[in-house]
Symmetry: C2
Subunit: 237 residues, 2 copies
């Protein structure tokens, strides 16, 4: 086991991917526990409250020594300074954190498009509602969230969301753009035309050597219709 | 203006109430800006990116000196150590934060019950879907989230969610319980029977002198059907 143990569902990118990407970009070793032998059983012990440390409500969670931290944004807030993925001052870290939380809100809304009624129901049992929900999401919400991020980059006149250097928020922005491109390709083609700075930022992040290597490796789980971003063509017609 | 300026919609409890409650409990002065004269216009300037500091995506946000911090959980994470509402060590603060984020997830799901299709549509235009969504929420989700909080208190054998003393997470738990009681009274009557420790924690928080005074004052906006927790009797039949 590496010093950092990440616990997340082994067959999807989902929320865990934001954490995986940070480790991969930093080139810092981590164990993706549920993807190792007996890893799922290990993860369930934490969720069932059978392990020490704070009991997580849901994956992803990170274990480092005796510390257990859950919630995607909290994990990144904790680990980013240790990975060199956020400026050292507290004010920048707080800014990064609130941007990450806003990205998490966008991710949650993307999830709601295919599960508008209940997470406990299958997609096929809420398909009509999902279509309605996706219509509003692709028409109004994506542009509202991404336009907000675009406005921050434009105002700074630099391809960074926090300070004057690359941070985990840029990586998360890369990920959310790619998730949305997979789920809603037609809509994104239209929406991205108005987001030139964000598109450049996404390209800059994708070209970072460690990330490019990771994205081309088998460690990067392909997007699929079990994850948070799902491509159902019927949601975009 | 007080040293702390809170910006939030002036006619609802909503997400801003979690911040209001922390200040009220601590007895620390804050200005609830949008409830003062011309306050709404002041708030909109920040949302439109016309003010300095980080541009917030949405209310609530807090201004303190030159710092602007948005996102309910991030605001509390920033301000709680300054209000004495969280232990001083970083590990406890991280634990408190992840619990608050989980409470925020519950709040978001509560909101989705009356707006399952889109926040941009009126409730009356998604009533049938809201009823289905509320059925699942009241049957499965409330008990899952609150049962998780109950398990933490029971394991610690103390009426506190973080460490061995009162924290803002206890206050937020008080608020979410009361919001859910308002929105779904029948369901909560049933669900609370299995949450004796959580109910005692809620009573402990409600009896804190500063909070009791606030709750009885005109500063506490009553729950209403414009807020996040909404009582629509048809959602609980």
């Amino acid at each position: 086991m590496a010093r950092y143990e990440l616990y997340y569902w082994p067959t999807i990118q989902g929320r865990g991917e934001f954490v995986r990407l940070a480790f991969e970009d930093a080139g810092v070793a981590y164990t993706d526990v549920a993807r190792t032998k007996s890893g799922m059983a290990k993860m369930m012990r934490f969720l069932d409250g059978k392990e020490g440390g704070a009991r997580p409500f849901a994956p992803p969670f990170l274990k480092s020594g005796s510390l257990v931290v859950a919630q995607t944004a909290a994990i990144l807030h904790y680990v980013a300074p240790r990975l060199g993925l956020v400026p050292r001052d507290a004010q920048s870290q707080l800014l990064a954190h609130q941007l990450q939380l806003t990205i998490c809100d966008l991710v949650a809304e993307a999830h709601n498009t295919h599960h508008p009624i209940a997470t406990g129901l299958y997609y096929k049992d809420q398909k009509a509602e999902a279509r309605l929900s996706a219509q509003h999401f692709t028409r109004d919400r994506i542009a509202k969230f991404l336009g907000y991020l675009e406005s921050i980059i434009v105002k700074k006149d630099a391809l960074f969301l926090v300070g004057k250097r690359h941070s985990y928020v840029d990586i998360s922005t890369f990920q959310v753009i790619n998730g949305l491109r997979y789920a809603f390709p037609k809509s994104m083609q239209r929406i991205e035309k108005k987001l030139p700075a964000l598109v450049k930022l996404e390209q800059r992040v994708a070209a970072r050597p460690n990330l490019a290597r990771y994205l081309a490796s088998p460690r990067r789980i392909p997007f699929n219709t079990d994850g948070i971003f799902r491509h159902y063509p019927e949601l975009e017609t």
